[in-house]
């Protein structure tokens, strides 16, 4: 069995005391930062990334996996306890999770989220391991035209799910692509848009964008709101464990959520978000058992299903990244940046040229998931305490750690000026209702898209029809067009707007 051989290779690499320790520290830090209100996974990962610089690649990736899962779980905790979704995919968790917390059942809600996520993570990891090898084979058949079309599909997929105006989201992508082009052009050696600033010839650092837009921008927007007394349920969390009845309701929801999440996560573009929405909708459609709490009033299925779907989806969204090297969402885009810093170029070649790393990463994802449940179920009380820390102590600390993190990337104060500029830009985006996640995705894909477009057109001697005459490329583009048409259909359009208004 190839799968078992591969997985055992991976676990052999990942299961050292040192690596387990890094996974543990990563999870701990990720949850610690992720639980802070107003800090989503993107900002969390960007902030903690510098902590992995000094490590060897495998240890760094394992720690990053820990940070990633920790950040996601931390986000769910904030969603349930403070009614504040830290990221778009926990938007639906808020609906029933917060109601459960208000009824003094925050413990079971958090446990359901944790257990559901763990189960979904295990399944997702297995699917990832099973599909990675065959998909990598497909990836080698991809020419530049196919890659270009796939990126178009991925970018369209990402904006379809952005809240608000579709056109504005497309604009954000294009803006991101353009910003990604700043710096030295690899083909001609011309420094583009660098205004004779030596630091800019290396391009804009993705960490400065992520921290400025997601970190500083959000904090400024948060501070602008008058300090409304947020209800935090600290004293009431007593019975942590779900009852037998809860388990009975939860298990089918977790299974359904996992199945939906695994399937939708593979799609390029915001898989986890779509998965959470779809899972919640399906749970809502199934019949209530006698004596069950209705949805929207604290039904445990309303927490378990979207959380499982979300985690399964974020697991399988590693598939396009690892096999094709294309990040499907902003968090994955950040992971690409992180891997590049450690001299790993994600893509089909990683699996063949560096199998220890590839399977080690997959094993470490499972370890990250397991660590999360070991760490978080007993520590929920502590995370809740953290939520009672006044915001006026938190935000200076967050700004400070961002600044330190940004500086440590290159040991250059220029990055600090840049992050300040992006903070202003990020706040402007928030004020003008422009979604920043597609920007980050575009930023990472910019140079890749240019390179593949250049190669595709070079091979076709400047003939643009190459994208529709090659079968695989044409079907990818067709999928993108279908996605756009579906979203623009009047009936779907009004539903979509409704879904985002509900937030």
């Amino acid at each position: 069995m190839d799968l078992i051989n591969n997985l055992s290779l991976g676990f052999g690499v990942a299961f050292t005391f040192q690596n387990l320790l890094y996974a543990f520290i990563g999870c701990l830090l990720g949850t610690l930062i992720g639980v802070l209100p107003g800090i989503g996974p993107v900002a969390t990962i960007a902030m903690l990334l510098p902590a992995t610089y000094a490590l060897p690649p495998i240890a760094a990736l394992i720690m990053l996996a820990g940070i990633y899962y920790g950040a996601q779980y931390g986000g769910s905790t904030t969603a349930i306890l403070v009614n504040l979704p830290g990221e778009s995919s926990s938007v639906v968790t808020v609906i029933d999770g917060y109601q459960m917390a208000r009824k003094g059942r925050a413990g079971p809600a958090l446990a359901a989220a944790g257990i559901g996520s763990f189960f979904a993570g295990c399944v997702g990891t297995l699917i990832l391991a099973a599909f990675a090898a065959p998909l990598t084979e497909v990836a080698f058949k991809f020419g530049p035209a196919e890659y270009f079309s796939l990126m178009i599909l991925g970018l369209i997929g990402a904006v379809v799910l952005a809240s608000g105006s579709l056109l504005k989201a497309v604009g954000m992508i294009v803006l991101g692509l353009l910003m990604g082009l700043v710096g030295t052009d690899v083909n001609s050696g011309v420094a583009r848009y660098s205004f004779d600033i030596p630091e800019l010839t290396d391009g804009i650092g993705f960490i400065t964008i992520a921290m400025g837009v997601f970190g500083y921008g959000e904090i400024i927007a948060n501070l602008a709101k008058t300090e409304d007394k947020r209800e935090v349920f600290t004293g009431k969390v007593t019975g942590l464990f779900p009852t037998k009845e809860d388990f009975k309701n939860m298990i089918p929801a977790v299974l359904r959520g996992t199945a939906i999440g695994s399937m939708l996560g593979i799609l390029p573009g915001g898989g986890a978000l779509l998965a959470a929405f779809a899972a919640y909708t399906i749970e809502k459609k199934t019949k209530l058992r006698p004596g069950e709490v209705p949805f929207g009033q604290g039904n445990i299925r309303g927490v378990a299903a979207p959380e499982s779907a979300n985690n399964a989806g974020s697991q399988t969204s590693f598939i396009p990244l690892l096999t094709l090297g294309i990040p499907p969402n902003a968090v994955m885009a950040l992971m690409v940046g992180a891997m590049t810093i450690h001299n790993i170029q994600p893509g089909p070649q990683v699996m063949t040229s560096n199998p220890e790393l590839f399977w080690g990463l997959i094993a470490s994802m499972w370890i990250g998931n397991a660590m999360l449940i070991i760490l978080n179920l007993p520590l929920i009380g502590m995370w809740i305490k953290l939520l009672t820390v006044p915001y006026r102590w938190l935000f200076p600390a967050i700004i400070l750690f961002c600044a330190i993190g940004v500086y440590s990337t290159n040991n250059n104060t220029f990055d600090i000026w840049m992050v300040g500029a992006f903070g202003v830009i990020g706040y402007t985006f928030i004020k003008l209702g422009m979604e920043p996640a597609p920007l980050l995705l575009g930023f990472i894909l910019g140079p890749m898209m240019e390179e593949n477009l250049r190669r595709a057109l070079l091979l076709s001697r400047g003939d643009w029809t190459v994208f529709v005459t090659r079968g695989l490329s044409a079907s990818l583009l067709a999928a993108a067009v279908v996605l756009l048409i579906i979203v623009l259909l009047p009936s779907v359009k009004s539903k979509r707007e409704e879904a985002f208004v509900e937030e």
Partner: protein, 162 residues
């Protein structure tokens, strides 16, 4: 002519201007042809697309009615200014400014300065509390970044450490 959606009006304007600027900048590089793309080709293409998208958004914001007018609302100048100023101060204190011969003051001074300035962005500011916070953050940062992660930071002012 009345603006129907303020948010869209300004974002459309932003896209148009930025797109046009990128496209204009691209013309100073070699554009080339499709088969042999120069460094200006892709940015020119994208810049033009962005400018067109911006123009459409701009047009819609002037024509399509919105129920609320989508007002941008007032800017939160206080947090904006203090947070960005605190961030810049961190860089200045940590690395110094060679252009005006300001020596590097190091990490600890930078932490105190930044915490002090950034805290002013909040609603309440109590000096004593902020000083305690800065001290805690300094100790934590020293332990985490210098001792544990061994990052290369100037910790103390250059005129002390030499």
């Amino acid at each position: 002519m009345k603006i129907k959606s303020q948010k869209d009006f300004f974002s459309g304007l932003l896209y148009t201007l930025v797109g046009a600027a990128f496209a204009y900048g691209a013309t100073s590089y070699n554009i080339g042809t499709g088969a042999r793309m120069g460094p200006g080709y892709f940015p020119l293409l994208l810049g033009s697309i962005l400018a067109i998208i911006g123009a459409i958004i701009l047009f819609k914001s002037l024509v399509v009615e919105t129920p609320t007018g989508d007002e941008v609302g007032s800017w939160a100048w206080k947090p904006l200014v203090f947070i960005i100023a605190g961030n810049l101060l961190f860089g200045v204190l940590l690395g110094g400014l060679p252009s005006i011969k300001l020596p590097a003051m190091g990490l600890i001074a930078a932490i105190y300065g930044t915490t002090l300035v950034v805290s002013m962005a909040g609603d309440k500011f109590k000096l004593q509390e902020v000083l305690i916070l800065a001290t805690v953050l300094s100790v934590m940062s020293y332990l985490a970044f210098i001792m544990l992660l061994k990052l290369q930071f100037p910790v103390w002012p250059t005129f002390i450490s030499g």
